[in-house]
């Protein structure tokens, strides 16, 4: 049930401060879209506006339009809590719930919303989600150990299985590998390749090789100076963005001449 995301003329504010200006981008379904750009250019802010996590910061709001398969994400009758159930998110630092076991972490989306499940259904969902995140073989013998007993890379994959357990349509990843070693990073990139058959994935990354490896589409964000809003400079197929971009700034960034 992947969906495409159509963003038009989006401005994102923190109170009076315009953080991201005038973003229009079409994110196709069942593909990986990478967002790259220097720090502070609004990639993460933009990503968080896609599941309405942006507005948990007091005073933060957006204007413009985000349509997910024709449905307005910021429509007056849209419940942000319901939005977040269908758009999963993986954060920069692995954040499993420390009070819960591995099993309960995967079940968290159900348990915290008091959805009752029969034990066999729950077991199969946990197994499916952990297999989906390539973690099952490593943890199947210790499902009831605390989630924080895992290594960083395993914790991040646990967070991915937690996110996909609620079967979202879109999966947002905010620098999911920046706290991980190259081997764990490789495991997660493989996983992203597998997941894109079923989900629309948007990933923010500082690692341009990673963007080139995992994504079909790339969007380049930049800002013209400190205190200025971030902008989407260019977006297009990854191959084109890395070999023959339209904009000079994109070329300078992807070739490592700045940033």
């Amino acid at each position: 049930m992947a969906r495409s995301i159509d963003v038009s003329d989006l401005n994102i504010y923190y109170g009076d401060f315009l953080a991201v200006e005038d973003v229009s981008i079409l994110i196709p379904a069942r593909s990986v879209t990478a967002l790259i750009g220097p720090s502070g250019c609004g990639k993460s802010t933009f990503l968080r506006s896609l599941n309405r996590m942006h507005e948990v910061v007091p005073g933060a709001y957006v204007d413009g339009k985000i349509m997910i398969d024709g449905q307005d994400l910021y429509g007056a009758d849209v419940d942000p809590v319901a939005v977040r159930r269908s758009i999963g998110m993986v954060f920069q630092r692995p954040n499993p719930f420390p009070t819960m076991s591995i099993y309960d972490n995967v079940m968290a989306g159900m348990k915290l919303n008091s959805k009752r499940m029969k034990k066999p259904d729950a077991d199969s969902m946990v197994e499916r989600s952990l297999r989906g995140a390539n973690l099952w073989d490593e943890v199947k013998d210790r499902l009831h150990k605390p989630g924080s007993s895992l290594s960083g890379g395993q914790q991040q994959r646990l967070c991915i299985s937690r996110a996909i357990a609620i079967e979202p349509q879109v999966l947002l990843m905010d620098e999911p590998c920046s706290a991980l070693d190259p081997i764990s990073t490789g495991a997660i990139e493989d996983l992203i390749h597998e997941l894109k058959d079923r989900y629309t994935i948007v990933i923010v990354t500082h690692n341009m090789q990673q963007a080139a490896r995992v994504s079909d589409m790339t969007g380049f964000f930049n800002l013209s100076g400190v205190g200025q809003p971030g902008r989407l400079i260019e977006a297009g197929p990854t191959k084109k963005m890395f070999t023959n971009p339209e904009e000079k700034a994109t070329e300078a960034y992807v070739s490592g001449r700045f940033g």
Binding site: A82, A108, S114
Partner: protein, 308 residues
């Protein structure tokens, strides 16, 4: 659009590092010794009154301990004999009710301040909690007495009134400690729950509170330890009696600190027996506080999120 710069970085040259310290090295060591000695000295001086207090209370209180001391009240006791059973019951009842009043109010206030509060109201609440922390305990007692005198008439005495006075003292402590503990819960955990489509209140109940549970329980236990020894407000509100009173909603009720005070201030004959019982009550109180501290440590050990 950002300008693109291709800078040639200047070569960095590190100065050679001298590893032989010379005289400055010896001087630094001497200063280090001096500071260590001073810190230890300060520590020992701070420890002195504590050790002396412990020794005095234990040596004077322990002789009072007997089966009779723990199982008898002072009702109809003339001369030697009798015990502090009534005061133990009174302390447990009054303190328990104070905790029952304070914990929900304090915890909910802390949750409001940390999870929801922003702007004017939260600032006012924080200010008022700060002011409450500084209320002298006798004023809390007078407040409770004035309140109950309005409701039940002058001269009223009851355990509940004492509990209300103690709550005035306990609530700000509970708010402060719970607030600190809730602030320690990483925001990433809240965001993780929100991103799963969990509403705010469920996130608080099922993620934030369990994560902070050990600290919250420890804070509450220490707040109880702090108020269990209050005397002044209970003198006004609970009064003193020689009998056991299991009903905190009517009549005088004696607590351990008030008993210790009155046994010393207005002793019966023989004076030595009264004084010995006062020290005994003080020792029980200290054991209680120490037990509460131990319980707090155990609880924080049990409830702390495990990693293995």
């Amino acid at each position: 659009m950002a300008d693109v710069h291709t800078t040639d970085r200047p070569q960095v040259v590190f100065p050679p590092t001298p590893f032989s310290g010379g005289t400055s090295h010896g001087l630094r060591r001497a200063k280090d010794r001096l500071a260590t000695v001073l810190v230890w000295l300060a520590f020992l001086i701070a420890l002195l009154p504590l050790a002396s207090l412990l020794y005095t209370v234990v040596s004077k209180g322990l002789p009072a301990f007997s089966t009779q001391f723990f199982t008898y009240s002072m009702r109809n006791v003339v001369g030697d004999g009798g015990g502090v059973y009534h005061a133990i019951i009174g302390t447990v009842l009054v303190t328990a009710i104070a905790a029952i009043i304070s914990v929900p109010i304090g915890l909910l206030t802390a949750i409001y301040l940390v999870e929801y509060g922003s702007g004017q109201l939260a600032r006012w609440i924080t200010l008022l909690v700060d002011v409450m922390t500084g209320i002298p305990s006798i004023v809390a007692g007078l407040f409770a007495y004035a309140l109950f005198a309005l409701l039940f008439g002058e001269g009223v005495r009851m355990g509940l009134m004492g509990s209300v006075a103690l709550s005035v003292l306990m609530i700000p402590i509970v708010v402060r400690s719970c607030e600190e503990m809730l602030k320690l819960v990483p925001n990433e955990l809240r965001e993780a729950a929100w991103a799963l489509g969990v509403p705010r209140w469920r996130t608080i109940v099922w993620v934030v509170l369990p994560t902070a549970l050990a600290g919250i329980v420890t804070g509450i236990t220490l707040a109880i330890a702090r108020i269990v020894g209050e005397t002044a407000p209970l003198l006004i509100t609970c009064g003193i009696t020689d009998s056991v009173n299991f009903n905190p909603f009517s009549d005088r009720i004696t607590t351990l600190p008030v008993f210790a005070f009155s046994a010393y201030a207005t002793p019966s004959f023989p004076i030595e027996a009264s004084q010995e019982k006062a020290w005994g009550a003080a020792l029980i109180l200290m054991i209680l506080v120490m037990a509460l501290n131990l319980v707090a440590r155990l609880i924080s050990h049990w409830f702390a999120p495990r990693t293995k």
